[in-house]
Symmetry: D2
Subunit: 320 residues, 4 copies
């Protein structure tokens, strides 16, 4: 292994730069040359590839987004695209690849591994929806960003008598809504992993009002439905002076949290270590305080445990 490359793919996530920085520096520390691929798999196929130096990643650890840019590129599911990508890498003499992203990135990485190109995948997405790791890169920052916003909304909610529906990201996963629901003391949490009944939510609001609660916060995962749709259904019961906030792309940005910087550094460091040891076809994860490695393909087929799903029940008992 002489030359390795790194790309970021799919939605960007805070901490991706920490991982890129660790890859570049650990690689150079170990005597490797490290290349960056712009715009994910699209850039790989197009040959948008350049050498990275220690300076290129200087002062990036605190920055959101990804200095390698990202793009979705569904065309990469096609085997011709994959072979074209490998050709491009070989043109640069690159013999190992690290991909950072969500499940699309993992599928790309699995395909390259099947074609014999050593590839390591790092889970980078705010959604926390990747099997093989307790946390994905970006999740911790995203939940802190959401809470920061909800704390502000709570200020104004407390000043009036209102119901706030807050739609958060997460694709088909409820992790962001679950953690931020607990963290904000939301009266109700609505996530795809759990059936919900509007009757019950209305009952929770009414119970709260009876006990003197002036405002209600409902944390809604986008995977269930969108915020306006939810609010309309709620208003059918009664006029709760409902306000909807869709937090949107704010959730993807921001300077990464301490955890995401450390996690990114750990992931990047270990990815280089694996390639150096001649390993490929693996994805990296964190379990407790251990960095763990799994087969990408098997991991993609696995159903993810939602480790903290008990939080859902806990919230019912402490946020009434």
């Amino acid at each position: 292994m002489k030359r390795i490359a790194v790309l970021t793919s799919g939605g960007d996530a805070p901490g991706m730069n920490a991982a890129i920085r660790a890859i570049v520096r650990k690689g150079i520390y170990d005597g490797l040359e490290v290349y960056g691929i712009n715009y994910g798999y699209a850039g790989m196929v197009a040959g948008d590839i350049h050498r990275l130096t220690v300076d290129d990643v200087g002062d990036t650890i605190a920055r959101g987004g990804t200095v390698l840019y990202s793009a979705r590129y569904p065309e990469f599911s096609n085997v011709e695209g994959q072979q074209k990508g490998i050709e491009q890498l070989k043109k640069f003499g690159i013999d190992g690849l690290i991909v950072i992203g969500g499940d699309g990135s993992y599928r790309g990485g699995a395909a390259l591994s099947k074609l014999g190109f050593p590839t390591i995948a790092i889970p980078g997405t705010i959604d926390n929806d990747i099997p093989g790791t307790e946390y994905t890169l970006g999740f911790d920052t995203a939940i802190n960003t959401v809470l920061d916003s909800v704390d502000k909304i709570r200020d104004t909610a407390t000043s009036h008598v209102r119901t706030f529906v807050i739609e958060v990201m997460g694709r088909n996963a409820g992790d962001i809504a679950l953690w931020t629901g607990i963290g904000s003391g939301a009266e109700s949490i609505v996530i795809p992993e759990m059936n919900f009944s509007m009757d019950e939510i209305v009952k929770e609001i009414e119970d709260g009002r009876r006990r003197g609660k002036k405002h209600t916060i409902i944390m809604l995962a986008e995977g269930v439905m969108n915020g306006n749709e939810f609010a309309e259904k709620l208003q059918e019961y009664k006029n709760y002076h409902t306000r909807v906030t869709v937090l949107g792309h704010v959730q993807r940005g921001g300077s990464p949290s301490a955890r995401d910087r450390v996690l990114g550094s750990l992931f990047g460091y270990n990815a280089v270590q694996l390639l150096k040891e001649g390993k490929g076809g693996l994805c990296i994860g964190i379990s407790g305080s251990q960095v763990v490695f799994n087969d990408i393909i098997e991991t993609l087929e696995r159903k993810r445990d939602v480790p903290y799903l008990s939080l859902y029940q806990i919230n019912k008992e402490i946020s009434f």
Copy 2:
């Protein structure tokens, strides 16, 4: 003057608590009794009035929202309501009132003054749309909150090739959009005070793309139209991968900025001073570093100068 009261009305704004705190403490320092009225004019008419102590406002200066709650109460435009309100105040022996809020609050204060009840108005709204002051309480915090979000969106904007339309508050005023457009380096600013042409905006985007800009941020004041409507009109020209973010109620909350805490303290302190001097029917403002006083009624009739409207032209010359 022995007893004075304070209320907050309309949308809440960060810094209202700093003003309430200054009123309570300056009042007590001067030997007055200070009463708080909950829920604005609605609470005044309903008699939701209680004595405030130094402790009641302890550790509130850093908090968003208003500890006196707020409400809109259009019924107060009715003279019977106003007289009912004055009766309630007299029941408590209150002989001077301070109202904190936007133009609705000012109109209430003007009406009470006309009926002979000494009333001082403090401009408290994030919209910065009140004549007689360069800045309203809450505006500075709101623009910092908006920038914090836009900086995060820019992270993700920079990582992809996209156009972001960011809808901000301000009712019929463009101040929030103007300041945060400058402050975020937005490529375009769209405000009600200035005609805009979609042709020109499209030209600005295209010019930027030609020079290598990967992303575009358009700051849109809600007073022009809503973000989704704007994005649709823009997409009619070309697919700019437009994403809309409606920042919403986040803008009203948050711990007040340094300016809003100082401004709230200055306003509150001076309002008590005026009542003590037997004055009423005035509204307070800031001009440069001077606290100024104006007749409420005249002020309501005046058209507001938008002091920094030149920022609009400046942005065209520095954010191309």
Copy 3:
């Protein structure tokens, strides 16, 4: 079990309020009466004990510090003090206790358990120095607070040619320095768990300067020595335009991070659960995504694993 009580002791930590809130609400949800003890063990002995309602903990989850106040009270190591404390609890009919704090709090809890009073301990300290848990309550917030400050210092470090020594808390543990050293990309990390050589640090600075680095950040745990002492030793080698920043009590405050809010909720909820099941003499911890329980006395005797000590070596390879 009919009545339980909760106290916070030692240095306060963000997330304590989330734990108190969960204890109060989960207790009431389960039909218990919950009492708060002010000022830790000192308040227990003095009988500073009062009933807590759901409202008392409303809107506290986002607040730093502890609503029950905290105090150090070394006199509690005395068995008479402990018996006096138990008497006070019995006067109120309290038959179970939850203590939140660091090792002093644990020792108090162990003593009460030995005397037969059912006590559960929750690890609450920013220092992360308690055995039996991967993370203590407050650590995550503290490292984010430190990084926020170091990011600001880096702005000004980058603008000049300077060396910054940043002294962070942690008592005898290096966790805060280690995590924030990684997270800020500090060139050197100095912690009590690892010997350091000033010669080596000087070599790291010189190597960096040779490669064009303009500034150096050294993260120093207070357990090694204080920042000014360190800077003096460094300046003996050469004038590195060294600036010392002692972050101090800022590290203990602030709105808790998402993690600390969730962790506090989990810990508080489970502590009530344990008391309800008639258990005592236990301390709560987190391991991966599992809440775990250990005997307090055994835990106090155990040496703590520093789970991420490998970060120390990793930093050498990625922050040169």
Copy 4:
């Protein structure tokens, strides 16, 4: 005027990048070439000068510090140094200069103007101690940074019974201490512009304790004395469990506030405008909502008004 240059000098301040960005873009918009000088006057004399493009200042408006680096260079008070600097500028064909910084920068700018080189000065320092402007660039960010820290300290102060002495920057000016003292509700503010008596401060603490206050915050400007010295003097009266926090260089960093971004943009834009009109020897300031221009030399001789000194008295009446 074909080519202009810009430098930053003295302590860096948030907002300097916003000013540099506006200068570069407004200059290019007007058909000028814009050069950056690294490391202030030292870089000018050394010829560390380079052309700046629109891209060089892309995504810098939100960043603290200065992309042109800064340095103190007392040797520039020497006329030979000044002439050497002018020679260097002429070598690059530069015929107008903008300097951003504090009084040292102003003196340099005045000297260059006397020697016939058109120079415009922009007030950039967190200390707010420059005559000819109500606010300097960086002051608003600094006071928000300080308040953020003091709010955190207050969390922990409230949890114990303690007295906190917080030393803030400002050189010989008390502006930072004054504004943040008001903004944090500090019980006492100690600034160089006002005599203070330790007897009176002790009386304020004792009065507060009598009324049930658990903690005291004293905001101390570095221009009076340092925090530890102050605390020792205070402890001579009585053990107030005093803790000292020296906020230090954190105050200089951080993403600029909304105001500082707008102010920097306004200042930079107008500086280019003045040079284009053939003017030099001026410094820029803000007064109310107007940008104002003054003669640098006269301004340096003028005594600064401290516009908000009345805040000192106000705080005594609202923070008892």
